[in-house]
Structure formats: structure tokens, C-alpha cells
């Protein structure tokens, strides 16, 4: 059974508070975000992501999955895509967890100085994502892709 947003919030927070599950996986490279899976069951899966300066997911959605994201260390910024205006942004620091419903289109960027570590939980388990890009004629396009591409790769920002 899928987790509610409240349950995702609690789960992501609890994982962030259980470093025995992910401490050994933390490493930072300047080339790409480092991501490692730390949870996988029938209802929820989760990754730890290690961010270095200026790394950015690009705008994407999580297909059918809601998400809970906990910041363990450092800072990240979340932008929600808005039509005809600036994205709705918030910057999140250590000890903070936020959630987003499956309908959200967002990007997460490294913020502040120094590396960041975040924990990302998805329910139902993340299988595919949608990446957004602006076509040469100015129209917005969505490309369906595997979650591994989304978690690890740099995407062209909208």
C-alpha cells in the first residue's frame, strides 16, 4: 500500500536519523551526483544523494510516485515549475524534510557552500520519471525515462 505524504515525511525523516543505513555510502564527486539505493520494498524505495557545488537535477516529475526528501547535511534548493513566471522556490537545510505529490514538476539544486547529502523516498516505488525540456520551437516537452537517469544524470535545465 502506498505511503501517504505524512507517512513519507516520517519515513524520510526516520531514515535521515538512521545513519547506520547510509553513512558508509556518502562520497562526493564534482562530476556527477552520487546516488545509492538505501531502501527497496513493495511500497517505497529510497536513495541517498550526495551533492557537490552547482549540481542540478533539471525539471522532472516522478510519474506516479509521491516523494519525501530529507536534508541530512548542506543545503539544496527546490524549484516548482510555474507557467509564465518564476519557479516557486524554497531553500532547505539540514534536519528538514519536505514532501511533494506525484503531480508536482520540480527540480532540486545544490545550494549554499559545501557538499550536501539528501535522502529521497518514493511511494509507490519510483520506476520512471519524466524529464522536461524546451524544444527549439519553444514548446515544453516531457521525456519518460528510467529513474536511474533522473537520479544520477545532469539534465538540461528548462
Amino acid at each position: 500500500m502506498s505511503l501517504s505524504l505524512d507517512e513519507l515525511q516520517r519515513f524520510a525523516t526516520a531514515l535521515a536519523e538512521a545513519p547506520e543505513r547510509w553513512r558508509h555510502l556518502v562520497r562526493h564527486t564534482g562530476d556527477a551526483r552520487v546516488y545509492e539505493q538505501i531502501w527497496d520494498d513493495e511500497d517505497v524505495n529510497a536513495w541517498i544523494i550526495c551533492w557537490s557545488e552547482d549540481q542540478d537535477t533539471g525539471f522532472h516529475d516522478h510519474d506516479e510516485s509521491a516523494a519525501g526528501i530529507a536534508v541530512v547535511s548542506g543545503r539544496v534548493r527546490e524549484d516548482r515549475l510555474a507557467l509564465g513566471g518564476e519557479p516557486v522556490s524554497r531553500e532547505i537545510g539540514p534536519g528538514t524534510t519536505f514532501t511533494l505529490p506525484p503531480v508536482a514538476i520540480h527540480r532540486v539544486l545544490h545550494a549554499g557552500t559545501g557538499p550536501a547529502v539528501t535522502i529521497h523516498c518514493y511511494s509507490p516505488p519510483l520506476r520512471r520519471t519524466g524529464a522536461y525540456r524546451v524544444a527549439p520551437d519553444g514548446t515544453l516537452e516531457r521525456e519518460s525515462q528510467s529513474f536511474e537517469v533522473e537520479l544520477g544524470a545532469e539534465l538540461a535545465a528548462v
Partner: protein, 313 residues
């Protein structure tokens, strides 16, 4: 308040029992099960669902039990309540008084003994977790039946969250819940019967409940299952063929004490859950420890577990 620090080089036995005069006195004052009767120089324990058990009070003296640590090569032992006699399942306040007497006795032993903090499972109250930790217990213990099944887990949930928030381990020991057998076992029953039937199934049910439901709700809780959880992880193939969920057998925060088992099942479990998840627990004085061929590593693992969770009180 005593500060307890487990150091990696230490050898720890995570599962012993001690019948202290404090608990025996409190049980002798009772007229319902479980109780103690002293007749003809014998101290006899009568517990719900159990055969009468003669306690060797001389062997239970603080000095003799400390000598036993030396004989086993154990630096520290953590003492659990003997949950199968049913104390934790008694009405909340009655259980609380007996638990308090038990802790009075255990915490007065040689400083090399530490205590698991038992908690009443009738109307479970997170404040009881705070109380036993404040008294100096290094973790919290519950009888396995209190964790057997979705409803039981829900009832215990707030208390388990409190254990998790204190960052101390939970010890799951065979034992029943309220409404369990108030009668003694039939005298024709072999002494080993309950240990090979009820205890095994209680541990398996608790492990399945926690692995299938509790782990996601309590991802930061360190859990130690006594007696290799009755070998429950070895049933995972059957779990799959009967339509159960895929479980993470190598969960890094789930540990198993090896009490009463020898190299056969201990080696098999090491293969299934990983050797680092197995910890030394002897179940003294109930059983004489069996040599596993891994005892030194198991004792180190037990010390590391207690150190890793910052077992301070």
C-alpha cells in the same frame, strides 16, 4: 547515573538472566501466577504456561555469577527478564512493580552486569521506556508475543518509537502476553517442550511481524532477536512461495543472539543474514552455552552493537 561505555575490544554477552533476591522476594509475596514458593529449602518458581522450576539460589549469588563471567571470558553481560513466566503481561501496575524489583536486583550486581529494561505490555506506555533508561538500563526488552502480528505491533508502536528516539536497542525475548496461559504446564510435559514449540513460534512471529511491517515504520530502531529469532529468516523461501513480501534479510540494524544454538544453525544464519548481524547471547543460567566456533567474533559483534548505539545511561 552510571555511565556505561562498551569498547570494541570487550567481550559482551547480550543475553543472561539472574534470579536476584529482590525479584524472588517480590514473587514470593504473590498468590497468583507467576509466584515463588519456598518449601523444604527449595525455591520453586511457578510461572504461567511453564513447569515449576527449582532455582539454584546459591548459584545465583552475585559472586557466583561474576565468577561465571570470568569462566566464559565475558567482560560484560546484559541481563534480561525471564519473559516466559509472564511478568510483563500482567496488569500494567502489577508488572511495573515486579519489573522494578527485578531491576533493583540486577542493578545492584557487579558493575560488569547491565540490564535490559523490561516494560509492561498491558496498556503499553512510552513513559515506561524513559523510566527504565533513566534507571540505567542499556536498552529495552519486550516479550516476543507482544510483537507478534499487525495488531500487536500497532499497540506497541508508540513505545517502540520511544525506544528508537532514545537510540538504544530493543531486545525481543520469548514470552507471552496478557490473556496467555494463566495455568502451569501439565507435569507430564517434557522440560524442553515449550522451548522447542512456543518459544520458537513466538520468535518467528515477532520476527516476521517486525520484518514485514515494523521495519519500515521504525527504520532507525536497532533490534536484537534472542535465539536467532527461532531461525525465522531461514523460512524466507517458504515466505516467498506462500505469497509473502520480499524481506531484506541483511538489514543492518537487525541482530540475532545465538543462545542455545550451535555451529549448525549459527553457520546457516551467518549465510542468510550476514555474520556481522550475529551477536553472542548465552541465555545463562537457563542453558549451558554451546560452542559455535565463532564465539570470539560473536562477543566482539555484541560489544560493537552496544558501542554503536552509544549505550550510555
Amino acid at each position: 547515573m552510571e555511565l556505561v561505555i562498551f569498547i570494541g575490544a570487550m567481550s559482551v554477552d547480550l543475553h543472561q538472566h539472574v534470579w536476584t533476591p529482590h525479584l524472588l522476594e517480590a514473587l514470593a509475596r504473590r498468590d497468583r501466577l507467576p509466584f515463588v514458593r519456598r518449601t523444604d529449602g527449595l525455591t520453586v518458581l511457578h510461572g504461567g504456561g511453564e513447569l515449576p522450576y527449582v532455582i539454584d539460589t546459591a548459584a545465583e549469588s552475585a559472586d557466583r555469577r561474576a565468577q561465571l563471567l570470568d569462566a566464559d571470558g565475558v567482560d560484560r553481560a546484559v541481563v534480561a527478564m525471564s519473559s516466559p513466566i509472564g511478568i510483563e503481561a500482567l496488569p500494567h501496575d502489577v508488572a511495573g512493580e515486579l519489573i522494578s524489583a527485578h531491576l533493583d536486583g540486577v542493578l545492584a550486581l557487579d558493575a560488569r552486569f547491565d540490564a535490559w529494561g523490561p516494560v509492561p505490555v498491558d496498556h503499553p506506555d512510552p513513559a515506561d521506556v524513559d523510566d527504565v533508561l533513566r534507571r540505567g538500563c542499556v536498552g529495552v526488552s519486550v516479550p516476543a508475543s507482544a510483537l507478534a502480528g499487525r495488531e500487536a505491533l500497532d499497540a506497541l508502536g508508540p513505545m517502540l518509537e520511544r525506544v528508537q528516539s532514545h537510540d538504544v536497542p530493543l531486545f525481543v525475548h520469548p514470552g507471552g502476553v496478557a490473556g496467555g496461559p494463566p495455568h502451569e504446564a501439565p507435569l507430564t510435559e517434557p522440560l524442553w517442550w515449550r522451548a522447542l514449540t512456543d518459544y520458537v513460534s513466538q520468535m518467528q512471529a515477532a520476527w516476521l511481524t517486525f520484518a514485514a511491517h515494523g521495519r519500515r515504520e521504525l527504520p532507525g530502531l536497532t533490534v536484537v532477536f534472542a535465539m536467532l529469532a527461532g531461525g525465522a529468516p531461514l523460512q524466507s523461501e517458504r515466505l516467498a512461495t506462500r505469497g509473502g513480501p520480499a524481506l531484506d534479510l541483511a538489514d543492518p540494524l537487525t541482530f540475532y543472539d545465538t543462545s542455545s544454538y550451535g555451529p549448525g544453525l549459527v553457520d546457516a544464519m551467518a549465510g542468510w543474514v550476514g555474520p556481522a548481524q550475529l551477536v553472542y547471547g548465552s541465555d545463562r543460567p537457563v542453558v549451558e552455552p554451546v560452542r559455535t566456533g565463532r564465539d570470539r567474533t560473536l562477543m566482539d559483534n555484541a560489544a560493537r552493537l552496544m558501542g554503536a548505539v552509544g549505550a550510555t545511561a
